[in-house]
């Protein structure tokens, strides 16, 4: 299989921060908002270079989302950022009415998503945000997999007109996608061709999927790896093309198995091409404190979990 090399571990949120610095220079209408989490969001450079284009809302996420909607009136492109839980669950109705239904060009940028947030524990580890945001009509939902992809996605959404939910994370993880890879919203990336099983992964789980595919290859199993970075609109064509070839699928996401990417795939298959699927995801539990690695192991969110799921789903073909 194609080999991917880790260009050096980095956090996806730093990809967001780096892109914001670039956007600060290239896009005069881009403005940033943050609710008392500037350092975590890695936007200090943007702020230093564009102090007038930054809005510190304090610990008031609802007000931040409304202000972001208002800033579009007058032509601004607001990037409203905070932790993923406070960027979704805390403000769902505000996003729904003032941004999604009102059709405002707001970019909701959410760091520390998922269980790899780590030690802060369950109150901060949102595992339902993909599901929430995907249910909003008109919302684009993106969960990039590494530093490079996050940076590219951030740049891409600035030029797309419409509300976007961009989800990224806290820990330093492998950075393996090409630095110059263009980000196409809604277009799945075929990372590895295979014939026995399709692994569809998003976010931090993509690297794990690649590791799993390598190990499966050694066992004589040919796994296709599809990176769905855009959960909505879902690249149904790419999903169906692959599953029609392999006949079974494992979905992998840092999210509850209820409501997320996995269920979107199950629905797509149910409507077009029913096939066996296994879910690598959290199993309807809250997270807990711990190191990201410990948590991924305990909650079955790593390459080993994917491998196990592949072996299981292949038996069901």
């Amino acid at each position: 299989m194609k080999k991917y090399t880790d260009q050096g571990k980095n956090d996806t949120r730093s990809g967001y921060g780096a892109a914001m610095t670039e956007l600060g220079r290239s896009h005069p209408n881009v403005v940033a908002l943050c609710a008392d989490l500037v350092a975590s969001l890695k936007i200090q450079d943007f702020i230093d270079e564009n102090p007038d284009r930054f809005f510190q809302t304090g610990i008031a996420e609802a007000n931040m989302m409304g202000m972001a909607a208002g800033l579009t009136i007058g032509g601004k492109i607001p990037f409203a950022s905070t932790f993923a839980n406070f960027a979704t669950g805390r403000v769902y109705d505000q996003i729904r009415q003032s941004i999604a239904y009102s059709g405002k060009n707001v970019k909701i940028c959410a760091s520390h998503a998922g269980i790899t947030l780590g030690e802060d524990g369950a109150t901060h580890q949102i595992l339902e945000d993909i599901g929430m945001m995907k249910m909003l009509p008109g919302m684009t939902v993106i969960n990039p997999c590494d530093y490079n992809q996050t940076k590219a996605a951030t740049l891409a959404i600035a030029d797309y007109v419409g509300p976007v939910y961009l989800r990224f994370g806290r820990p330093k993880v492998a950075n393996f996608t090409p630095v110059d890879q263009k980000f196409e919203i809604g277009k799945g990336l075929l990372l590895n061709e295979g014939t026995d099983v399709t692994i569809i992964a998003t976010g931090h789980l993509v690297w794990e999927a690649l590791k799993a595919a390598e190990s499966l290859e050694e066992q004589g199993i040919s796994a296709e790896v599809l990176n769905i970075h855009t959960i909505k609109p879902l690249d149904e064509e790419a999903v169906l093309k692959s599953v029609k070839k392999t006949g079974c699928v494992v979905s992998a996401e840092e999210h509850n198995y209820l409501g997320g990417l996995g269920e979107s795939i199950a629905r797509t298959l149910a409507v077009h091409y029913p096939a066996p699927q296994e879910f690598v995801a959290t199993q309807d539990t809250f997270g807990e404190s711990g190191t990201p690695a410990d948590l991924m192991e305990k909650y079955g969110l790593n390459n080993k979990a994917i491998e196990k799921a592949v072996l299981k789903v292949m038996k069901r073909k």
Binding site: G58, N63, M67, G70, T72, Y101, S102
Partner: protein, 300 residues
Amino acid sequence: MYSQKIEITFGAFNNRHLQMAKLDELQDIVTQTRRDILRMVHKVNSGHPGGSLGCTEFMVALYNEIMDLKEGFDMDGIGEDLFFLSNGHISPVFYSVLARKGYFPVEELSTFRLINSRLQGHPTTHEGLPGVRIASGSLGQGMSVALGAAQAKKLNGDDHLVFSLHGDGELQEGQNWEAIMYAAGNGIDNLISTVDRNGKQIDGPTSEVLPMGDIAEKFRAFGWDVLEIENGNDLEEVIAGLNEAKSRTGKGKPVGIIMNTEMGNGVDFMMHTHAWHGKAPNDEQLEKALAQNPETLGDY
């Protein structure tokens, strides 16, 4: 998204004309708007006449005397004053005032709350209705939006003002206090937010549902410059109050207006009760109510 640019030529009530407009000309719009409100909610047997009738003077004055408006409508509203209706349930008065101002055909008022209409139960940008810049209905969100628009004006070097309207019951939503704190803390002084203090909400008088104490005092404690309009159903007082508020902008503080109104104003049997917050008159009641508000500018 829904930011199409629309060419509109305001009719009789354009700004220059209105600067000379007599009070009784505005009063004619007020009376006609009351008729529009009543006929709109009656037709579909739903909607919110109470708050609409109470805010009629305010809305008519705002659009026909106070705000500096461009001809036509575009979403960005650069170079003109902006208005945000946070208490979206009083859409009937908003729609009537917008239509009579020329934003869309007055006849379209007859589609209120019907399927496939641009005049949704609560105002929305989703159907492209000119004059509306944000959806409201779920309460408590409008001041945040107005704040954002006010900041955009500052960034754009646009010295026009942003106005917003809020229910008194609506202030029970915490998001308002986030916005109120932010506006003062950041010196958003191109914003004039008005509270419709009618002392009523769905379940009864605010004093019984959730006593709110002195609202002006609360705004002041949060750092706003606050003035009161004692009788928000007196056109002259409303205009004077709004002009006074305008004169206080640009001085480092957001400006708040506590405006006392009577829910259901202009229809005797709808006043002094919260019963008509969200209830439409039947045929007989409509007739009675219209008789108290004779046609001035022609029914739609």
